[in-house]
């Protein structure tokens, strides 16, 4: 038997100092942006700068302390990246509010950010081991579906701006689909872990792809049916695309089979074409997408006016932007929610937008990295699915605003004004942090000399 080594085992670094420094950096950038807005509009540093800056800084410090206590091994970059995006969103909303845009309210958004941090904390404290979620696979699926269809319930559901995706509780409105997507990712992860082998192995080979068996198509067809249901009944193009795309991506992660992706794309294109032929609102979106410059469409209500205003704004911004507080993003309808990306583009230009997209990309990279580092299949799929849904959401809305794909009403994660999306995304980040904590935690250390029995400190 070897003598126990006195040298403590070297552990992977927690990098807490780096995390705190990056967090402070993000808060300083956000405060600088506030000052910039004030200097440009009123020629003085705005009085609210300290309130907003310290408010955001306080929330993030709280989140950092929670992280250090309950998930010390978590990835050091996730929180600072989210802080920067959330803070820039606040600045743009503040800027639109000071331009007198009705509906924009930075104070509301700051309060929602605080509630988001509270939910982040609650998730981390309550959910000590995310693998407990695997036992709730089908419960999560049921909750997700219930949330998704809840706006269709009479008296509870509300139709705003043509989409029936809201429920009213008391005086407040809520978008349950935002929370449904988290539930559904948990369900997909648990389901695919159980059924992965049959989906990945059974089937036969045709030309160059492995085709699955016909009976294994069931889950894909069911999810497809539900996405189409959302599309048709709630007129919510965004959520429909989001859920179906995430399912296909997770199916691909689980099985490594290209045929699932091809089947998914074919099903979606088929479904969308069918929906386009039968339902007016899908058709309208498509016409706008193909010919936004058409004067008739521009003048039509629900036509391409909003899209073109966004494009004009980004064009006005050019490479370097007009500078914070010096453009006219308030001319874009809904610039504080769906079109916040265009408003940011006008004032920060391509250079700023690329930096913003890089921050999103780094966030997704950290999520996928967590997925690679995770040691059990459920965590891998969950982390992969959560990162993908974040990336996919950014792609759908940014693609829509820049007219790369037909516009669908989705929020830009962490930036757009709106409580439901912000809260749901903070919970998403808490889940990612929890998984990354488990994945990066070093293996249990033996606390005594090796012998017949071993005692582990877990």
């Amino acid at each position: 038997m070897s003598t126990p080594s006195v040298e403590p085992v070297p552990l992977p670094a927690k990098r807490r100092v780096a995390q705190l420094a990056m967090l402070a950096f993000a808060v300083v950038i956000v405060m600088g942006a506030y000052a910039n807005v004030g200097l440009a509009i009123d020629k003085q540093v705005p009085a609210g700068m300290l309130t907003y800056g310290l408010g955001l800084g306080g929330f993030m410090l709280a989140a950092y302390l929670v992280l250090a206590k309950f998930a010390p091994w978590a990835d050091p970059l996730i929180l600072p990246l989210v802080t920067l995006i959330n803070g820039l969103g606040l600045v743009v909303i503040y800027r639109l509010e000071s331009a007198g845009m009705p509906g924009a309210s930075a104070t509301n958004q700051l309060v929602w950010t605080g509630v988001g941090v509270v939910l982040f904390t609650v998730t981390l404290v309550v959910l000590r081991d995310h693998r407990a979620l695997q036992r709730l696979t089908y419960t999560a699926g049921a909750i997700g579906l219930a949330l998704l269809v809840s706006p269709l319930v009479p008296f509870l559901g509300k139709e705003i701006n043509g989409a029936r995706i809201w429920i009213g509780v008391g005086g407040a409105t809520l978008q349950p689909a935002e929370f449904a997507k988290l539930s559904l990712v948990v369900f997909f992860a648990g389901y695919l872990v159980a059924k992965r082998d049959v989906l990945a192995l059974a089937g036969r080979r045709l030309l160059f792809i492995d085709l699955p068996r016909a009976r294994d198509l069931g889950p894909v067809l069911i999810t497809w049916g539900f996405s189409l249901g959302v599309l048709v009944l709630q007129k919510d193009l965004g959520s429909s695309l989001l859920i179906f795309g995430t399912f296909i991506a997770m199916l691909y992660i689980a099985t490594q089979r290209t045929s699932w992706v091809l089947i998914g794309i074919l099903l979606f294109v088929g479904g969308a074409t069918l929906a386009g032929l039968v339902f007016g609102h899908v058709q309208d979106r498509f016409t706008v997408y193909l010919n936004p410059e058409d004067p008739a469409l521009y003048d039509k209500i629900g036509g391409s006016f909003q899209l073109l205003q966004g494009l004009f704004g980004m064009g006005q911004g050019g490479m370097l932007g007009t500078g914070l507080g010096q453009g006219h993003p308030e001319l874009i309808p809904l610039a504080f929610s769906d079109f916040i990306f265009a408003a940011t583009g006008e004032e920060l230009g391509l250079t700023g937008l690329m930096a913003l997209l890089m921050v999103y990309a780094l966030l997704v990279e950290r999520g996928l990295r967590t997925s690679i580092a995770a040691r059990d299949p459920f965590s891998k799929l969950l982390a992969g699915g959560l990162s993908f849904i974040l990336a996919w959401q950014v792609f759908i809305i940014v693609g829509g605003v820049t007219n790369l794909i037909p516009l669908t009403g989705l929020v830009t994660p962490f930036m757009s004004q709106g409580g439901s999306a912000l809260l749901a995304n903070w919970i998403l980040i808490a889940l990612l942090v929890r998984i990354s904590d488990t994945a990066r935690r070093p293996p249990p250390q033996a606390i005594q000399d090796e012998g017949m029995t071993q005692v582990f400190q877990r």
Partner: protein, 155 residues
Amino acid sequence: MSELTLLLIRLAFLAVLWFFVIAAVGVIRTDLFGSRTTPAVAGRKVPKAVKPMVKSRKGEPRQMVVTGGPLQGTTITLSEAPITIGRASDATLVVTDDYASSRHARLFPQDGQWIVEDLGSTNGTYLDRSKVTRPTPVPIGVPIRIGKTVIELRK
């Protein structure tokens, strides 16, 4: 506030924004090139005691990589602690595989070598082609097969 000042502020803000991105990438860098886990202070205190140890460790594996099976790509940095592999959720490497037992095999370091030991699994553990019947030293780069999962030690 003159135009020029605003222009300078604008450019400075964009530069700072990109600096943040670069700083974030700097934090990630350790992912790509590995991190120096020994704290600098400890290294300064006992430089002589550490140095020969590091030297003698040169031939030792530093990480375990899953090269085949559903968990392909996972790496575990080796420390002094033993690694358990199996379907049990408290194993270091959790495999979901019908051919693996809940506590399938164990890897532990001894005298500068890593030893693989089968923990009475149903379908056995294979080191390269041969079945592991008693604790066997694992050379670097030789595949260990557990059910559908293949792992190997790397420097």
